[in-house]
């Protein structure tokens, strides 16, 4: 009886947004009379960071500090239509809608500033710190606050913008499956290292090493949160979770968290993550979205690592100790020692 180590790899890609497109999102951006901006969405922040991502995209596009932007979500009376928070579409679809709305608002803001400074709007730039200045002559500047006051009370201009982003719906050929499923894809590779106990059938994930290419990391901390959380979910899918443990037999279904198995904090392993950014031509600042994909490579990488450790293929999820032991028994036991990789 022994513990065997092994490692396995998987490479994947993931489509961004609803399959075939046809999933619009809208955004509204407006300034209050003192130059603070509100982004109004009906989109939902599930904790993934929709508010933060759209806030940073709005601030970057307007050319104002992120503290001067507030994102209001999830109200059908005030927020314009959004298809929903799913299909890894938030950053790409809603981000683009916010970018379009912020561009429109920025154009009015620059016109208002130009009128105040008595220059051509094309000669102006934002400094990202709350000021608008003449290119090459930063001493000729006006604060966004003063521009907003002037626009509201003197010029009668509304510093606001509307944005929508829609990837037009694609046809599907019933005979060949010809279609345009997505406009961009994120990518990943993950190596999992496991230890298999040939007496109990238990599998421990010891370490993961991964690379994710996600177009542009709008907020690296939120990316990290997704990738770390997603790998935990992937490990949980691979080794623990199901409401039907003997599928397709429906018996022994769990009713609560005492019966529904998931890994605990002690089962989480070290994970080295590398992020690559190949900008998507149609992403906001090139962003794609790391949301769904990060669970996916973990499942096969763990299964492949188990094969590398003890020479059995478990092709049915989840890979429970019972399945590992049955496979080892069928194989006539584990190899004498874990094969080095």
């Amino acid at each position: 009886m022994a513990k065997h180590r092994g490692r396995g790899v998987a490479t994947i890609n993931y489509p961004i947004g609803m399959n075939l497109g046809g999933d619009p999102s809208q955004a509204l951006v407006h300034s209050n009379p003192t130059g603070k901006f509100t982004v109004t969405l009906s989109s939902i922040d599930l904790g993934q960071g929709m508010k933060s991502v759209t806030r940073q995209i709005c601030a970057e596009t307007l050319g104002v500090p992120v503290d001067d932007v507030y994102v209001d979500t999830a109200d059908s009376d005030t927020g314009p239509h959004c298809m929903g928070s799913f299909a890894s579409r938030g950053t790409h679809r809603v981000g683009n809608a916010v970018m379009a709305a912020a561009r429109e608002a920025r154009a009015v803001m620059m016109e208002a500033a130009a009128e105040e400074l008595e220059v051509d709007p094309g000669d102006l730039e934002t400094d990202g710190r709350g000021n608008i200045q003449v290119k090459g002559a930063p001493h000729r500047s006006i604060s966004v606050r003063d521009v907003a006051i002037a626009a509201q009370f003197r010029q009668g201009k509304t510093i606001s913008g509307r944005g929508i982003f829609l990837v037009p719906l694609s046809d599907v050929d019933p005979e060949t499956g010809e279609m345009s499923p997505a406009t961009c894809y994120a990518h990943a590779c993950l190596v999992a290292e496991v230890e298999v106990d040939d007496e109990t059938g238990e599998v421990a994930v010891l370490k993961m090493t991964s690379a994710y290419e996600i177009g542009r990391a709008i907020n690296p901390k939120l990316v990290e949160q997704q990738l770390v959380g997603g790998s935990w979910m992937g490990m949980s899918h691979a080794l623990y979770e199901t409401p039907e443990p003997y599928y397709p037999n429906t018996r022994d279904g769990p009713r609560d968290f005492n019966e529904y198995l998931m890994p605990g904090p002690g089962d989480i392993c070290p994970h080295d993550i590398i992020v690559l950014e190949r900008p998507a031509p149609d992403g906001p600042f090139g962003a794609k979205g790391p949301g769904e994909m990060c669970a996916n490579p973990v499942l096969p990488a763990v299964a492949n690592a188990i094969y590398n450790a003890v020479g059995v293929r478990i092709d049915e999820l989840p890979i429970t100790p019972e399945k590992v032991l049955r496979a080892l028994k069928a194989r006539g036991g584990a190899p004498g020692s874990g094969r080095a990789r």
């Binding site: 396995g8 790899v9 490479t11 994947i12 890609n13 399959n19 046809g22 939902i44 599930l46 508010k51 992120v66 507030y70 979500t73 109200d75 009376d77 959004c82 929903g84 799913f86 037009p168 046809d171 019933p174 005979e175 060949t176 010809e178 279609m179 997505a182 961009c184 590779c189 190596v191 090493t209 690379a211 290419e213 542009r216 709008i218 901390k221 979910m233 199901t242 443990p245 397709p248 279904g253 769990p254 009713r255 609560d256 529904y260 070290p270 080295d272 993550i273 590398i274 690559l276 190949r278 900008p279 031509p281 769904e292 669970a295 996916n296 490579p297 096969p300 492949n304 092709d315 999820l317």
Partner: protein, 529 residues
């Protein structure tokens, strides 16, 4: 533990940005860490009523009779809600985008098709009173045989699960029981392959297991509108579904979402809102309907099970020359979103690899279990598991390192994919290379030098694609193509007939086209690349 490789693809990026790329703290962080962010169930209302649902104890049964007289007289009970009370009882979620037929009742009246299917609701002054009243309802069932296995469900003579789709499969394009993918000639390629491997993969259902179960509160306002506090992931999706089922103009509903205690795809199905709105309108009082943990685990829709068969033809030099996939999505008793996932799955085949001959048939199958729904990686997660396990077996079979095998077959810019669109913006090879370096996974020099940006092109698949290009339509060019008998996804809340009849036939995009090239679709008159 997280590092950036800004050196890779640096020439394609403008990194001179101020706010984008910063690790800015989220604007709602203080509320989250102090436990004060408001969830739907943090809203408090005087005289709140509670909706609880009677669920079927059987996977398949005919309802002979329902006697709720004792329940209606029970203490605290304000209203019994029966199927006949639901204005539009039959619905399918994707009817909002004209995809599929209405096949699922809010409350079952004649037949129950899965264990846990809602039959009747009780609105009472407390959850306890509602549950105690439910225990007084007497239902007479005639048990029917049930089917739980996707392949059993497709056999002749199998139990028919869903009356709207009597053959137990979702109907595609009004004529097919599955979605097809045809690219090249797999049979010819299998004959030439040095090794042919075939295997079967199975993913069991998976529960989203959110900390916050599905739920919502409906509050009638003084002017006839209803405000709905909800945990939904898709505000307007849930609003429009609720408006349809309640036969209300959409502007009579005000949906307020906000902080969601875990979604993962499990809060798209709008499982509580339509009935809680109905309950609020029937009683004139605020009503809450929230799933218990048991309901969430067993009767809230899970990630559906998938069974996937893969057959690969591989050459000794490492090239995959053919891949055939046959897959079955277990949709449970009703469609919900599985029909969509099937098409997304087909779009994903054969994975991020360039394979000249690909053939797939993917089925959305009805069985007598809890209807499945979206979950993180919908349509893709189980397929990736199957594909990547198969890739490992392929590599072992021809004696090649599994990572080098993947790099060799990885798709590159300019390659033709099986769904007949050119690959672009690829980065699989680079991900593999940096992981190999970090994990000290030995790669030979030639694999370390490969690039997603070089060596791709239609020469890797072009001839194969040509062999199976769809034949030109037999109708004269001037004749508009007939609308499909069963509308597929067309557009949001717009009938299929609205599709432009004068759209030109699909044409092959010019070689070397990039994003934004000439496009076509029956709706928008343009084709995406």
């Amino acid at each position: 533990m997280l590092e950036f490789r800004k050196d890779i693809f640096a020439d394609e990026r403008d990194d001179n940005l101020k706010e984008v790329g910063q690790p800015t703290q989220r604007q709602d962080m203080l509320g989250h860490v102090t436990g004060t962010s408001p969830y739907y169930d943090d809203h408090r209302f005087a005289n709140l009523l509670h909706l609880k649902i009677l669920r079927s104890p059987y996977a398949h049964a005919r309802i002979r009779s329902i006697d709720d007289a004792a329940a209606a007289r029970a203490p605290g009970v304000k209203r019994i809600i029966r199927a006949a009370d639901v204005p539009v009882n039959l619905n399918t979620l994707l009817s909002l985008i004209q995809f599929g037929k209405d096949d699922e009742p809010s409350l079952a009246s004649d037949v129950v098709r899965y264990k846990g299917e809602p039959i009747l609701g009780v609105v009472a002054t407390s959850e306890r009173a509602a549950l105690e009243a439910l225990a007084l309802v007497r239902v007479s069932y005639e048990q029917l045989p049930a089917v739980f296995d996707v392949e059993e469900a497709l056999k002749p003579g199998a139990v028919s699960v869903n009356a709207v789709y009597p053959k137990n499969t979702f109907e595609y394009y009004g004529k097919y029981d599955h979605q097809k993918l045809r690219f090249g000639d797999v049979e010819a390629a299998f004959k030439q392959a040095d090794a042919v491997l075939e295997d079967r993969y199975q993913m069991s259902p998976i529960e989203h297991a959110p900390a916050e179960t599905n739920g919502s509160i409906a509050v009638p306002d003084t002017n006839g509108r209803v405000s709905v506090y909800t945990s939904t992931q898709a505000l307007f999706f849930s609003l429009d579904t609720s408006a349809k089922i309640n036969a209300l103009p959409s502007n009579q509903l005000h949906f307020i979402g906000g902080t969601v205690g875990g979604g993962f795809g499990g809060k798209v199905d709008t499982m509580t809102e339509p009935l809680v709105i109905l309950a609020a309108r029937l009683t004139g009082a605020p009503v809450r309907y929230r799933f218990s943990r048991h309901e969430e685990m067993q009767f809230g829709s899970p990630r559906g099970a998938e069974r996937i068969y893969i057959k690969d033809g591989v050459m000794k030099d490492g090239r995959i020359v053919a891949r055939q996939v046959r897959a079955y999505f277990d949709s449970g008793a009703y469609t919900r979103l599985s029909s969509y996932a099937v098409v997304k799955c087909v779009a994903h085949i054969p994975g991020p690899y360039t394979i000249p001959n690909v053939h797939a048939d993917v089925f959305c199958v009805f069985t007598n279990r809890t209807p499945a729904t979206a979950m993180r990686g919908f349509g893709v997660t189980a397929l990736d598991f199957a594909l990547e396990c198969q890739m490992d077996k392929d590599a072992v079979a021809i004696g090649m390192d599994p990572l080098e095998f993947r790099i060799l077959n990885a798709y590159r810019d300019g390659d033709m994919k099986a769904h007949r669109r050119q690959a672009k913006n690829c980065a699989l090879i680079e991900c593999a290379q940096v992981v190999a370096e970090k994990a000290s996974w030995p790669l030979r020099d030639e694999f370390r030098r490969m690039s997603s940006r070089q060596g791709g092109g239609e020469h890797r698949t072009g001839a194969a694609a040509e062999r199976t290009r769809a034949p030109a339509p037999a109708v004269p060019a001037a004749t508009p193509r007939p609308a499909p008998a069963s509308p597929q996804r067309v557009s949001y809340e717009r009938p299929a007939a609205a599709a432009s009849p004068s759209a030109p036939p699909p044409t092959q995009a010019p070689a070397g086209s990039t994003h934004g090239a000439p496009r076509f679709s029956s709706v928008f008159g343009t084709r995406r690349r």
